[in-house]
Symmetry: none
Subunit: 251 residues, 2 copies
């Protein structure tokens, strides 16, 4: 599932092949495929990159190599630079989340976006930042903002992915229910409660007697909250049955 | 800038020290500090972890080591498991974004959260997943969902960080908990499960014997879903105790 309108990832002078590989893996995770490399320090192709890419070899094979950042922008309409907010450049600064949305809007208008990532040790040069219309700055823990290259790619990719026209995870907790296991009927739930309470009556649990109503209600609340399925209600009735049998101690 | 109410990160049987180091770095980026390790394969402390942590040595030094996942949950109220949606477990599933908000709301209510991450090769065992009340599933590119360990930690940490502190309790329907009734500690919940399962063993409930693990797991899931309070756990232990007494039939 690859989206040809998705942003290009431009790694400027990456130092370690391994980081290129993990960046490619992060791209694959987020449905990105257009990888562009500007003068990777250790040459290209790279064995360590392939070893670290964990299934994203295709992205590495298709990666394009450039001799300058400017050349690597071919075919792009909007360029973002990932960096700490530069002091002396007056450019709009977005967080990854806002940038993800902005790129999606641009795509919808038929534009191609690209995101620049600098070398591991020093980030982007000012000359690269100048090429970008917008800065992406992740405001992380101020005591430790420096992100690993692949993790920076992941954050940008993740926010682009989440902003997209993909099915987003349900806002409310969804529940994984075994196939064929329907939610319990209220009537079965009530029968279970009565079963439990009879067994507890038999065992003398409700004591003193005037506390029975509130004790029973508290128990019912627990099971109401659990949104039991049909088979769970049957399972719990088995538990009540078993427990209220006379114990057969193991010898 | 470290937040002691922030979620604990629990790495279960991590294989490579390097990944523990990069996970610690991602934690530091996101303002997390409580790292818990369950049986790291290559022992602890780890030179490769320190080398990869890039400024997050302090988190590694303070990391706590445990011999079981259950033990690593000490002091936590809510546990999340990062995994693909399990087929046969009835648990709520959230995306990282929703989970970040849910954890912030729980913190505002004074609860401590923890997030389980499985080993690099295979993820979490079912036995670990059972310990969690909620699944966190990142719906990434369906063709390539597997995230590097540190990247999974980063996504969860990032979304927690972005969700920001919650000032007021959630507006959405919350459970009315009796005043003074705190959420149950995971350790008390585990003790209750063991009590229940011992009682069911004594009564011959688990039959055939090879079905015991799945039967026990299904029962645990029900109670995990119910978000039990402290007094509810005590109440349920009383119920188990009462039911497993020899019946005193009314005459």
């Amino acid at each position: 599932m690859v989206d040809s309108a998705a942003p290009a990832i431009v790694l400027v002078e990456p130092q370690l092949g391994e980081n290129i590989g993990t960046a490619a893996r992060a791209m694959m995770n987020c449905g990105l495929s257009d990888l562009r490399l500007v003068n990777p320090r250790d040459g290209w192709p790279s064995e360590p990159a392939v070893a670290a890419s964990s299934g994203a070899e295709r992205i590495l094979e298709d990666a394009r190599l450039y001799e300058s950042t400017a050349a690597a922008l071919e075919g792009l309409h909007s360029v973002y630079a990932t960096t700490a907010r530069p002091r002396d450049m007056n450019k709009p600064v977005l967080g990854p989340r806002e940038a993800g949305s902005a790129m999606r809007r641009a795509e919808a208008a038929g534009e191609r976006n690209g995101v620049l990532f600098g070398k591991e040790s020093k980030g982007l040069h000012n000359d690269d930042i100048v090429l970008a219309g917008t800065i992406i700055e992740a405001r992380l823990n101020p005591a430790h903002t420096s992100l690993n290259l692949a993790q920076a790619v992941l954050l940008v990719g993740w926010e682009w992915w989440m902003a997209g026209p993909v099915e987003t995870p349900a806002a409310e907790p969804e529940t994984t229910v075994e196939k064929g296991d329907a939610p319990a009927l209220q009537s079965d739930l009530l029968n279970m409660f009565e079963h439990l309470e009879r067994a507890l009556d038999d065992s003398g649990h409700f004591f003193p007697a005037e506390k029975r109503p509130v004790m029973a209600r508290n128990l019912r609340n627990i099971f109401h909250r659990a949104n039991l399925t049909d088979s769970e209600v049957r399972g719990l009735r088995g538990v009540i049955e078993s427990l209220s049998r006379r114990p057969r101690r193991r010898r």
